[in-house]
Assembly symmetry: C2
Homo-oligomer: 321 residues x 2
């Protein structure tokens, strides 16, 4: 998709540093080099093809796609401070290389740039929507942090946190695409719902892979969510199962912080057994599958064609690994 390249061009432009600060430049190099799959701009660009203003709105869609991707980037920089992550996308994080302090300002810098360009483009509606989205993202992160190491976290708490953390930006990406291309309110609502399902399944899969993948993904060690006190869907489900008591014990032992890596690896096997017997993993997979199914059904109410197919392809992409 050529438009994704244009998104990159705008990200580069928006992140350009003219201050000559050596430290900032090095940080921006890391930030830009760690470019991910750009799923959010992809979704935005596709949503923007359902409206009558496409293709005139194409350039603006790319600009807004860049803004959405940069919000994601800024949130990763700030999240890595909180998670104390050494690696991200197989590279060292800003905070691990330059310190938490620099990472705070690097994230703020990226945010200030997004805001500047949104005002410059006079994108009032998009600006309001994205400001509200960042607010939701803060709610999600604060909510998750407030529940750290809390085995009483409910599945509702967890879902509400991942809505804020992840789904809200996917909803916004769809809403912006619909808005800029002039979709009807009905189409816009369908696209926003599709975005919400994609957001949920995206985060649920990410959390699941942290448990099921045999080796660390993107430099993130297996079970690091659990070790860091974030209890995700398979764990929360297992805690409610008859074997939940044993899992609780394991979790408390891990939480005591007296274990070495070897002990945790050994526990990994036991956790796997508990998750197998409680069907925590299957349960999570079913929920993910349901979100994909609902997104598909919603898309099928929209006009058939390459755009709809593009959306279905993204779903496929996200469901594979």
């Amino acid at each position: 998709m050529d438009d994704l390249k244009l998104v990159d061009v705008y990200v580069d432009e928006y992140l350009r540093d003219e201050s000559g600060h050596t430290a900032l430049r090095s940080m921006l190099n890391i930030i830009n080099a760690t470019g991910g799959k750009k799923v959010r701009p992809m979704v935005l660009l596709l949503a923007g093809r359902f409206g009558p203003r496409w293709p005139e709105c194409r350039e603006r869609l790319c600009k807004m796609g860049a803004a959405v991707e940069m919000i994601h980037t800024a949130s990763l920089i700030h999240d890595d401070i909180v998670d104390d992550s050494p690696m991200r996308r197989k590279r060292r994080t800003v905070q691990s290389k330059f310190g938490k302090e620099m990472a705070v300002y690097a994230g703020d810098f990226v945010l200030s740039r997004i805001v500047y360009y949104l005002f410059k483009e006079a994108s009032i509606e998009v600006g309001m929507l994205l400001a509200k989205t960042v607010e939701s993202m803060c709610y999600g992160e604060i909510g998750q942090y407030a529940r750290l190491y809390d085995t009483e976290t409910t599945i509702e708490d967890y879902l509400s946190n991942i809505f804020g953390k992840t789904a809200s930006l996917f909803v916004a990406a769809c809403a912006i695409g619909a808005m800029e291309s002039g979709c009807s309110e009905k189409t816009s609502m369908i696209l926003r719902q599709v975005g919400e399902h994609i957001g949920y399944l995206f985060q649920l899969r990410d959390d699941l892979l942290n448990i099921t993948s045999s080796s660390g993904r993107e430099g993130k060690p297996v079970h690091c969510d659990l070790i860091n006190g974030t209890y995700t869907m398979p764990i929360l489900h297992a805690l409610r199962h008859p074997s939940g008591g044993r899992l609780r014990e394991v979790i408390h032992t891990i939480g005591s912080g007296t274990l070495v890596l070897r002990d945790i690896e050994k526990m990994g096997e036991e956790i796997q057994d508990i998750l197998n017997s409680s069907r925590g993993i299957e349960f999570t997979r079913e929920i993910i599958h349901n979100h994909a199914q609902q997104a598909k059904e919603l898309l099928e109410t929209l006009p058939k064609g390459p755009v709809r197919q593009g959306f279905l392809d993204i779903l496929e992409l996200l469901m594979g690994d």
Copy 2:
């Protein structure tokens, strides 16, 4: 000044939390309770009385004053993470009470709220200006952090950092007042220059008081800048004096981190002696005085009256303690 109360009303409104997150609510209570002197909105409101659109623009000035004060608040929340400050305005900081992690998101939350309301007010020009100001603030903080524990920091580096950290927001406050009230380009330029002088003298005085005040101010211990590796004007001046060699030694000993509080207190006396013999404090006082003098002279080119007097009063207020 009644308008300052209206600024408070808008700050309250903009910070209102409807999410029901207990943790966020507690943080917002701290953030709001630590209300400072509101110097920045004061300056904005005064600048806004020089233009022909005053008093119609009064309400908007209060809203913009609230946005400027909130940017200052957000920057304090993020700065306290970096400085690891336990206290601010005689209260515990967000980061010391809720952790650095929460403070990252509390700052982001405040920023997202400002951006939302600026878009809602469709304040394109103000929005662009404030985004650029936050960018400058990041440059200032990153620049300061990059120079930590560096006795080769030049006075130019220091001044450039305090421009970003502090003066830029005062310039913005004056620019917004001028813009909203429809000042001529000439008046606007004078006001922006006044803002710059106020900003510099404000930060220079703040840094000086960290050295000269006998007891800790606002819970900030004496010489904590020095201990934390931030070398401010009196120190930088003294380092360039013949007695600079001894100061360098003292600084390196402090930087080694092996001292207890008692040693540092003893060193405090020696630092004071070095600063006296190098006239580092007098030199800084002269620069502060020069900024005040230049601000006064610029104000004297503007129409005489209560507004101009108000500005001169703020200068007096900032020069006293």
